[in-house]
Amino acid sequence: MRAARFIPLAVLALLLAGLVWRLATPGDTTVGSKLQGQPVPAFALAAAVSAKPGLSASDLASGKPRLVNIFASWCVPCIGEVKVLQELKARGVTIDGIAVRDRAEDVAGFLARYGDPYQRIGSDPQSGVQISLGSSGVPESFIVDGRGVIRYQHIGAIEQGDVPLILAKLEQAK
């Protein structure tokens, strides 16, 4: 029983060790979405450009997996990502876009200049849907399966080297 009296002290030591470590290595604070494996939260976004329809949660449960790309015309890494998305589109991937904190004319200009891999583009002017998806920045992409369940979250731009990974994840989501 004597030893039991040292338990609080041991817990404290462990806690202090953890906190000292955290203070010494303030890691980056990217946190993955908690929604992987969960249905897409309900949302309905108006069209970001007049030429394409907007995006709502029900559009995502279309029976086959889709890639949802969160982007913005003001986001520099997004420009490089378009090329890779075009390639994915050429391989038969359906891609929807969510334009975050953007204006219609800017989005249209972005698409005209760098390419347009998107089937639907919703406008998320206050990042509300972005936040509800558990995304913290642009670009970010989600793979949503045919029943509207989020299967994979890709933080940051999809690079050329990520293409096999994305295709494999889409295959798994079937």
């Binding site: 009296r5 202090l16 906190l19 990217t30 309905a44 108006a46 406008s123």
Partner: protein, 644 residues
């Protein structure tokens, strides 16, 4: 001048705290029984911190922009109330408030304490001064609230608009009274372990402090939960966010302490356990302060990360909690347990209560810090959210709620009567509720269903201690217990109803469109501009109806100018059977607006329950203090003449 006066008061208070600490060492090392100077010094120290805090309030009230803290956190165009509240809406000011509460609590302990032995009181005041000393050093070295700017800027940088809300202006001080009030329990436990004075008398001295701090914590958490609900515009009341957990953990420990202290006070048992809880409760407050102030955990409460301050606070935490736990480990074994009790007794009930509360505390502690440890060990990032907390803590909380109905019916020492029989009616009411939920909502998930069942049972069971008693002759403390336990049932009912019956509608709508949510049909009549003192807004007009009568709701998106931020002001309409909760987002170019609508049946019961729990605590505290005064009066105390 005012700022300098505040700083001087802070330095003087530091000096007195150091003197108190030295006095304590002197008394404990010698055979001297008392130090007559201790009480007045503690009182003066409290008064000095009050002067320092008043100085801070004054510079904020007059928007003295030559004070760096004011320039960074205030603005001349801000409403007066938020100018004053701005004093504690920032790091330095809130730490000053913290240490002020600490010192003033010490002063009150010095003024009011008649129950403990003089030696233990001296040790307790010395321990309180040692706590204060560390936080004074933290303020003076690492976060001086009175630092000047030269030249003074022409205008301040404003205050986070989320904080310009009456709920939030008063939520942090309320929580701080609770957090820091527990320091007295900590100091008394520390002192009693030092002087080998752990007994029923100490428990009775400690009890009002624990009760008072616990009331503030309960009300602070309830108010914070309601603030998050209506101000953040997410429609949720609890997010298991690290900062929320930081306030929940001391509450759980204090709730356990509140119950075990009764066993110590009445029966002289559970000595070591109660002392440990007293230490743990305040330690959890300090851990909470550290987590919030250092920003080590990612949280919606985005306070800035500052490694230097973090290290300082961590060192304080290590010293104080470490010292208390070392003392506990060395002295705990020498405590002799008091009167024995049988398996079926009030004591056993309270032990089970304590075990369950401690396990829930462990679960919340683990869930809050687990991401940190996983990342430290494996480098993997993860976050622990509501699914874990609800799934693990939820069932335990329900078991506890079931036992809350039983515990107060048990007699001290041993129970020979068939107590379970008295629970027949509550059990039947619970079963009826269960059957009704199956009929009304067969699809409901298990946790809300059980929540509603237990709520119905507990609502009936909690009033049983009053049955067959003359209400006027029932002690106030018993009334308090009944009200607080009833509050648990009420809050549980609200949580269950909210989880089970909430209806949500997210839509992009144009003026003139009709939307339906739950029993309501909502007409989106249009939008119009609105303006306040330091903000402009787009205000939506929604006309809601469910058959008869029309209710108009006006949710807003506000744009604050300093600093430029926009916030959603939800429009909430309360009815006897629930709340209609509406939020308007931004519009798009085609004239459509994002609308979020919720119908939340009986959600208000959550906070009504929280308020009842706090009110029950207040009744109990009043009862305890009143009994104490009456006893003292009967003994022919000098106070008798004064109050006659």
């Amino acid at each position: 001048m005012i700022a300098e006066a505040g700083l001087a008061a802070l330095w003087l208070a530091t000096g007195l705290a150091a003197l108190q600490f030295v006095l304590m060492i002197g008394v404990l090392r010698s055979r001297v029984a008392a130090a007559p100077a201790m009480r007045p010094i503690a009182v003066v120290q409290g008064v000095l911190t009050l002067i320092a805090f008043a100085a801070l309030l004054l510079v904020f009230a007059t928007t003295d922009l030559s004070v760096a803290l004011v320039a960074e956190n205030s603005h001349s165009a801000k409403p007066f109330m938020y100018k004053v509240a701005g004093a504690w809406g920032n790091h330095e000011g809130s730490m000053l408030l913290w240490v002020t509460v600490l010192a003033v609590a010490g002063a009150f302990l010095a003024l009011l304490s008649r129950r403990t032995s003089e030696r233990t009181l001296v040790a307790a005041l010395g321990s309180q001064a040692a706590l204060a000393l560390g936080f004074y050093a933290f303020l003076l070295i690492a976060s001086n609230p009175f630092a000047r700017l030269n030249p003074a800027p022409l205008e301040g940088r404003g205050l986070n608009p989320l904080l310009q809300d009456p709920g939030l202006a008063f939520h942090p001080p309320t929580l701080y009274f609770g957090y820091v009030g527990l320091s007295i329990a900590f100091s008394l436990a520390f002192a009693a372990l030092l002087t080998n004075d752990v007994d029923a008398r100490l428990a009775r001295a400690m009890r009002p402090w624990v009760l008072g701090a616990w009331i503030f914590l309960t009300l602070g958490i309830t108010a914070g939960s309601y603030w998050a609900y209506y101000e953040l515009g997410w429609g949720g009341y609890w997010f298991w966010d690290p900062v929320e957990n930081a306030s929940l953990m001391p509450w759980l420990a204090a709730t356990a302490l509140l119950h075990s202290i009764n066993v110590l006070a009445a029966r002289g048992a559970l000595k070591a356990w109660t002392m440990m809880l007293a230490v743990v409760a305040f330690s959890m407050s300090m851990v909470g302060t550290f987590l919030v102030r250092s920003g080590v955990l990612t949280s919606v409460h985005a306070f800035s990360i500052d490694p230097e301050r973090g290290t300082f606070l961590l060192a304080l935490l290590a010293i104080y909690v470490g010292a208390a736990f070392i003392l506990f480990a060395l002295r705990g074994a020498t405590l002799k347990e008091g009167a024995p009790f049988e398996l079926v007794s009030r004591e056993t009930g309270l032990v089970v209560n304590n075990l369950l509360l401690s396990v829930i505390l462990g679960i919340v502690f683990l869930g809050t810090l687990y991401p940190l440890f996983v990342e430290a060990v494996s480098g993997e990032k993860l976050s622990v959210g509501a699914p874990y907390f609800n799934a693990v803590a939820g069932p335990l909380a329900l078991i506890l709620a079931v036992l809350v109905g039983l515990g107060p019916l048990l007699a001290w020492r041993r129970e020979r009567r068939p107590v379970l029989k008295r629970l027949t009616v509550p059990a039947l009411i619970g079963v009826t509720a269960l059957v009704m939920t199956v009929i009304v909502a067969p699809q409901m998930t298990i946790l809300p269903r059980l929540g509603l069942t237990v709520a119905a049972y507990l609502a009936a069971a909690s009033v049983l201690p009053l049955v067959g008693r003359n209400p006027l002759r029932t002690p106030l403390a018993t009334w308090g217990m009944v009200v607080a336990h009833l509050g648990i049932a009420v809050a549980l009912a609200g949580m269950g109803a909210n989880a089970a019956f909430t209806q949500e509608r997210l839509a992009v709508a144009r003026p003139g469109e009709r939307l339906s949510v739950g029993p309501w049909t909502v007409l989106f009549a249009g939008v119009s501009p609105a303006a306040g003192k330091n903000w402009t807004a787009i205000q939506g007009e929604l006309q809601a109806t469910r058959g008869e009568g029309v209710v108009t709701l006006k949710p807003e998106t506000r744009y604050f100018t300093d600093p430029p931020t926009d916030t959603n002001e939800a429009a909430i309409e309360t009815f006897w059977n629930g709340q209609l909760y509406t939020v308007i987002g931004k519009g798009d170019d085609s004239g459509a607006w994002q609308l979020r609508l919720w119908w939340k049946p009986f959600v208000t019961l959550i906070w009504l329950g929280g308020a009842l729990i706090g009110f029950g605590g207040a009744l109990a505290l009043l009862g305890r203090l009143w009994v104490r005064r009456r006893r003292r009066g009967a003994a022919g105390d000098w106070r008798k003449a004064r109050y006659a």
